[in-house]
Amino acid sequence: MKKVRNLLSSLVFFVLVVSYAFASEFNPIVSTDWLEKNLSNPKLVIIDIRKSEDFKNGHIPNSVNVMYSVWAIEKAGKKNELPEEDDLQDIISNAGINNDSWVVVVGLSENITELVNMTRVAWTLNYAGFEKVSVLDGGFTKWSKEGRNLAKEPKKPTPGNFKIKINKNIFADKNYVKNAIGKSHIVDVRMPEFFFGVSKLDFVARAGHIESSVNLPSGWIFTKDGTYKSIEDLAEMAKGVIGTDKEKDTVVYCDTGRLASAWWFVLTKALGYKNVKMYDGSSEEWAKDNSLPMLKYTWK
């Protein structure tokens, strides 16, 4: 009898701890510890964005595989574009996302591209009107290095009930950016040599940055081990470059709309900036239009 009582007490304690952990305030950047404690919560939808081959070799238990290239496609010659709305609805439903879900995006974290793949997916979900999205700090790479449990059998989710409601407030197109010059904060998140026009990627037609933009590289967000720097450090970086007016319109951009998603995510979700948009076309689109100036070798 005593054993049963002890077992029941332990069970109640476990349920309380788990409930408390899950019920705790939404955190946009969740740790591997937190995720492990919340693995069995039915409201949690863990989306693994790695390649299918890697997923099959081992994944976080209960995660579903929706590869990055499903969320960000090549369209009309541009990289990292949004899927069509009907496709996006299918993707989200098939991932098992419900109105009351909490999504955690999991990818690799060996390099900056892998890290910002997670935030680009988070941005896409927010664009679809689903806001309760976190990213796993350090991603699958950290989970795996820590020797945590891995599953090999893929989970087949029940289709979710979330219906997309496109949120254009976080999306900027070329015309929006043209009109924002000199009025909004325009933030170039590429490394300084790209901002100054010393380097450019092959597919970007011209080097340099958009007039009146400031430089706040996404590479600064992460530590060498692929985790996020402290909120205090991130807040200081943002304060130093765009100040503390959290209401001011802000547009982040990069080369294709992937790297910029990291600062969109940190500013919006972690630091509380309210009016941040990402210019999805970014330099890839902007630099093709010769009527639009691109500035080199200047802070202006």
Binding site: E53, M67, S69, P154
Partner: protein, 304 residues
């Protein structure tokens, strides 16, 4: 020490007798597909030269031994990726066993790495062997002549039966465009795929992405996706082959791009084909100095 012990299939066939005997006759081993259909371009005397100077010396070097798929990655284009999984035999790992040889077009199209959309089957976690049968890989005990001639080659309708569609719109679309008239790929191929041009023996070819719709050379009443093949009139001229019957075959073949999507611009909008005639092969686009058979693939669209 023999660097490729399984080059001699009999070594593996000591234990895997049935597979070994079958494999010896398969396209992966022989690779007869590289000459069986193409040979129609050649006169009888040219066939002999081709066999001796091209097929045996060039094409045959590309065949796969057992170990190329199950032990060590084959050397492709000078790139040697070494052992697949240390010194262990690997039964199946399509991302390596299939992807390394079929990494020029099929696999990158499938995974979306060639640009455009990844294949919906890959998106759902499927891999090569979820669609292709072991007979296609290991043979069926009879000499395989060409991939397109295999009666058990994979088709979409083996899984996706007409009439089982989930929506009325899809039912109607499939009923109007029956497979005899329009191939599945013509509507569901997600975007551009690799086309190779201007191949010359010893020098290779060039490639660029493209998407072409036209009549299926093997079934002229069917509209399908066409892929440019790189053989041109003077491809083998350096070994004295002029291809006397070059014009018997076109420079475009029906193709199954591995970039299938549920929805494409063609499934979304009838005008894409019926008004804009987007992607249709046109006379002015046909490759210069190509086969006279090319023009027979132009689909004269009748608007209703």
């Amino acid at each position: 020490m023999d660097k490729r012990p399984s080059e001699n299939i009999d070594i593996c066939a000591k234990c895997h007798k049935e597979i070994g005997n079958s494999y010896k006759l398969s396209l992966h081993y022989t690779p007869y597909g590289q000459k069986s259909i193409f040979s129609e371009r050649l006169s009888e005397s040219e066939k002999k030269i081709f066999n001796e100077k091209v097929f045996e010396k060039s094409c045959r070097s590309c065949h796969a031994s057992c170990g190329d798929c199950h032990v060590k990655s084959p050397v492709v284009g000078g790139v040697n990726l070494g052992l697949i999984k240390g010194h262990k035999f690997v039964k199946k790992d399509e991302s390596k066993t299939c992807a390394l040889c079929h990494g020029g077009r099929v696999y990158p199209e499938f995974t979306g790495e060639y640009g455009g959309a990844l294949d919906v089957h890959y998106q759902k976690g499927m891999m090569c062997m979820d669609c292709h049968s072991i007979k296609e890989i290991h043979g069926d005990g009879k000499p395989q002549k060409a991939r397109k001639l295999l009666e058990y080659k994979n088709t979409c309708t083996k899984c996706h039966k007409q009439g089982d569609e989930k929506t009325d719109k899809a039912k109607e679309a499939h009923s109007i465009h029956s497979e005899e008239k329009v191939s599945c790929f013509a509507c569901h191929s997600g975007g551009e795929y690799r086309n190779c041009y201007d191949c010359h023996l010893g020098k290779g070819s060039t490639s660029k992405p493209g998407f072409i719709l036209g009549r299926n050379p093997r079934s002229k009443n069917q509209l399908t996706t066409l892929r440019v093949i790189p053989t041109v009139r003077d491809t083998f001229v350096s070994v004295g082959i002029k291809m006397e019957n070059f014009d018997r075959l076109p420079n475009y073949w029906d193709t199954a791009p591995h970039n299938i999507k549920k929805r494409t611009d063609r499934t979304r909008n009838c005008d894409s084909c019926h008004m804009e005639k987007k992607y249709f092969l046109k006379k002015e686009d046909i490759i210069p100095n190509g086969s006279k058979a090319n023009e027979t693939l132009i689909f004269e669209f009748k608007n209703k």
